[in-house]
Symmetry: D2
Subunit: 391 residues, 4 copies
């Protein structure tokens, strides 16, 4: 087992851990540990909500979740020799559960508190608990379903530079300003409430808490990309923006569907990541990187039979035609899938939860055939223990 | 070889073929042939432009293409016993080239005539010709690239009912009305110019030409979905809207990337489709179908190594933050890929053409992490004969 | 379509074709055509028996097959510039059926005339006819089975040198001499009866007919390897033994299981091969080649669910223990599979025919754990339209 | 983490563990624990040699290994309700390393002490140590190689009945009697020396030690099958021969090539297995089982590019022709691969060690084309960090 650089005690709040991580992005959050290029080490992570969701049958904790506390991240890790403009090469050697916590959760957030991709259709909080048994999972809340996990960190990336952070804050504030009272909001702007900023204290804490970006969206540095294929064996190339790179991570998922449509949508869990890091000096300019790039690993669960649902960019309520809108098209594809599986005895909520958590493929199939985008969602039939093909 | 129900002569215009197909959607276009459920038959198709693009090195034909003529479709095929509300089950038994026409083309449409996904970046017409050699293709216009095809009909579907057609026309007209002078237009409304409507003549032709929908967008019936995975061996479940189903098809692609981003983006070719058809009586209600669903076949080219590029929904020119806009996020992912491969000696146009035509995977990875959608484009490294990994 | 270098008329015997191929191996059989390195061309082939087996329900033709006539090969093709010690690089660009002959056959040879892997269990001639529909096949003789083909030439290779031929003849004669009256024989020695030797005539024909090796076994040059994975898109590296390489091929299979256990075991058919050839000068010494090596192509049918049967090297009749005998172990694995599927309503003969023709994987799993070899046969469950899992 | 039913302390000999397992097969070895059908539990295992091989650079420990001590097995586990004739369904939920022992070894046994598949070519003891880093491994003894593991128990199965054991002992004794002084021996007969039999003591120990079968060969119950595909997520169906089933297991491999050709050939390690067990009452007769059958899991490492070597059944020293001998053919295929990779700077021993431990596919490609069997070994090129293709 590699050396554990960041250890968590699942029985304690994030703020009371021996090493305190962070739940905001800012270049001035101090590193908690340093490593050399070529090192292998383990990072443990709490689930993204800091333990707010429990292994029971009530969705009340999902309904009442305090989202000002997310995402609790382990790090930053300082990589010796890393400088702005370098590429930090991260090999995800392994992703796993922590002993005695072999379960995860998927939630539908209430429309008033977080919402989700289909919040107009499913506005009420709901929850599924998943039992993890080795490579497999099943949920007592969604019968006759079992599948292998594709474990990955939902969130991983290097700290932004001061300039990049300013750019994030400006563009997100501009967006919110277009409709400041919207529920759910258009973006989550910096919010000192419940900000955790590692070892920062006093005035420095106050300053950084005012400036630090929320962790919800993916951005240029990667961050909360929620890409299910960043699984075991992946190699990721991250742009470095600050000295030491300051790599942080969390939001581990046992599995997820493309889009993570329920928002709290993957199978969220605590867990560990085993990493190997290296540097490509000056790599950002050499390879023209704006965002991270990556090579998926060789042990993703593979399926040979899929059932695929199409969706087009026409609103399901009004019938309004949208222009090449992949968001609407993917929503329609998801809704089409939900409608189909309801014919096999599932509730809409169960399939919504399933599409967020099982390894479904969400594709932009056609994005130029004006005015309709065509998106597809491909569902491996082997995740069902029932026959779900038309006959 | 199965019986050829629809034969084409590639040396004659579409309108002069023995059987004349159509290039618009309308329930009243007469069927050209009928089959029983359980039948196996072959349909030949011209390329979608009716031969406007030639196997040479000049993009002038792409620049000057007359889009009022597209897509030339083979059909409609009447399926005996098919009634509205049935599912038409179509097995794509094979897709192939026609003798002596073993090549295809990928075009970038000029901004003024069609445009494409990245038209702001690549406003000028461009063309790549692909030589097809068995399962493989390569282009003299994009060096050191070779890959196996994933042949499929870009366009296939049953005729709409009168009601469905009216719905299409209304919603698309409403969209165009929001910005009627836009170039390219927001949608292509019914246009009698160059309409081909099978054997219709006289007043009936005139009426239908006024009403018939253009074939560009995918819609509820499927149509121009441009889904690369509708390849050999797929089984598709189509909703039936009119008696006899009236199945039509065309726009055969030797290969395509998800999104078909150059618009004329796949490797466009003439070719044939071998089909088996069957019916599920009353299947639309039984399975809750709004759009077609399908099962991909078992012989898609498979790759184990991909390089994946991420994109987020921030405008590349203005830096403006969009709200969960998968269209923008996928555009950024594509642009990131283009920038990367330019470092390996390709021009931007070459990679744009390649992303439209090679079997790249375009995914909606995250669609809930406000305000950024995260899309990814995964490119199999084996399509390059150069080493294209970072080092 | 590439130029056809070797055309066959399926209505004429092999000996009456415009170009006459051969059914023996000898360096002095004259080439029928020549090509340059870099060329792409098509070779048509009759089925390996020269049309002795018909598309009907009687196995009498299999029982009475004249094996002195096999395998009818198309070639030799002279590759300009090829010299002994070079590697001939052959790309199998495509493999397909000929128009109007879209069917194939699998036979169990009678013990007295050919036999097969399980001839002690199934001594009587039997036959299955397969209908080919695009990428798929099914047989009216084996219900509820459908699968995608993995088309390949069972037999392909360059002509042996005089020295290599002499070596083959000697070692095979030595083997036969150990039990000259065995039925079936231990090997098929040179036999002038029905020898076809291209354009050779008179005394030269007589001499070569006496010396030429039979085509049944695979040997150092490749030849009748019956490797199902030499399918579309493969690249093969052949040792060259004579000037011009003299490449020949035939015995096309629409599909086959590892081991081709029924001997006439694949789905045997007439068809065509599209090839690209090139040379690596001096490659045999450079890469230490004794036999051909190859890279399989990317479009083999892929399955994610297999049912796997184990076998060990203990004789099924006597209970005798063999020493690390993979032949016996694989036989037991096949017999175990047959016994299993008989519980699902199939006859033993049906499954024997199926294991010879469907894309089953035959593996040497353990070959060192004295005294038992362990072989496995892995059967994709998706080839059955029945549920064949234990429950 | 599931309950650990069998715990090992890697710092203590097998015989001094809290629970003592066994290294022989006999129905009368007492169970160490019992479980109900439906249970999930963890079993820890020492490496098969009980720690005789160390993480250093000297092959002396491999040369001097005491094979009378192998294989040290964890169990037997009593499954409540299991009776002879039932099928024991075992799900391999997970396979992993133990903390602080993340390494494994591959050995070439000396000809005088164990030998191996190529012992005539490589008669001297040799060793490679593998470092395990998450899903990957690399060895300081074989440069420029890295691959993902396919972890599995080399040995797992239920206790034989008294009758089955007698049958094993008789047939193996008969074989040894044909050449009793052979080195290595034709089989390992019962040998009380170093026999470990769980809690048995006194006269009962003495009786069982005289009768108990060695664990080396795979047999009807499964046992030491060394099937690399019995990896994470597999479901195995075992015949039950005695009341309680008495399931035992060990010989965990981090990875292995088909055939495990170096004998000590996989990447041998200590580790754990997470299992779920269930019963199919009367399943042996219902499904006609003679040996175990299994369904591989969905997370095996997958590769799309292989280099494949062929071998035929002709002796490499004498040139003697063997009759359909898959053992000889596979040996030739392996030797061909070794010869090839020596051209890339490796020693023969390095490649021999690699073929035993990397996930290479060993296939019986043709087993009927008299007199030559054709076997192939397919090597994923991605395991090399060098380019190993011909050019």
């Amino acid at each position: 087992m590699p050396e554990i650089l960041f250890k968590v005690d699942l029985n304690k709040p994030f703020i009371e851990q021996d090493l305190v991580g962070h739940n905001r992005w800012h270049p001035d959050i101090p590193a908690v540990a340093s490593v050399n290029p070529g090192s292998v080490f383990r990072i443990e992570c709490k689930d993204w909500t800091d333990g707010q969701i429990e292994n029971n049958d009530s969705p009340d904790d999902v309904r009442d979740v305090d989202l000002s506390m997310v995402h609790v991240l382990s790090g930053p890790i300082w990589v010796n020799g890393a400088e702005p403009g370098d590429i930090l090469v991260v090999d995800l050697l392994d992703v796993g559960t922590l002993p005695d916590y072999e379960w995860g959760f998927t939630g539908i957030f209430a429309r008033e508190n977080g919402g989700g991709f289909l919040t107009e259709h499913f506005p009420t909080a709901q929850k599924a608990i998943w039992d993890i048994q080795g490579i497999y999972t099943r949920s007592r809340h969604i019968p006759d379903v079992r599948f292998a996990g594709i474990p990955h960190p939902g969130l991983i990336g290097c700290a932004p530079s001061t300039e990049l952070l300013a750019q994030w804050n400006k563009r997100e504030a501009d967006l919110v300003a277009t409709n400041p009272n919207r529920i759910p909001p258009l973006a989550n702007l910096p919010n000192p409430k419940n900000a955790i900023l590692g070892s920062l204290k006093g005035a420095e804490y106050d300053r950084v808490a005012q400036e630090a970006a929320r962790t919800v969206p993916p951005r240029e540095h990667g961050g909360n990309c929620d890409i299910k294929n960043l699984s075991k064996g992946s190699r990721i190339y991250f742009p470095v923006y600050v000295e030491g790179a300051k790599l942080s991570m969390g939001d581990i998922h046992f599995s997820q569907g493309d889009g993570e449509i329920t928002f709290c949508g993957a199978i969220e869990m605590a867990g560990y990541l085993d990493l190997h890091v290296d540097l490509i000096k000056g790599g950002v300019a050499k390879y023209g990187l704006t965002n991270p790039i990556f090579k998926p690993g060789p042990v993703e669960p593979r399926y040979s039979e899929y059932l695929v649902f199409e969706g087009i960019s026409v609103d399901e309520f009004s019938g309004e035609q949208y222009y090449l809108d992949a968001h609407v098209a993917y929503r329609r594809a998801c809704l089409n899938a939900i409608e189909y599986f309801k014919k096999f005895g599932y509730t809409g909520e169960q399939i919504y939860l399933l599409l967020g958590s099982a390894p479904v493929e969400g594709r932009i199939s056609g994005i130029v055939d004006i005015p309709n985008a065509c998106c597809t969602i491909a569902i491996p039939t082997a995740i069902f223990e029932r026959n779900v093909l038309p006959s």
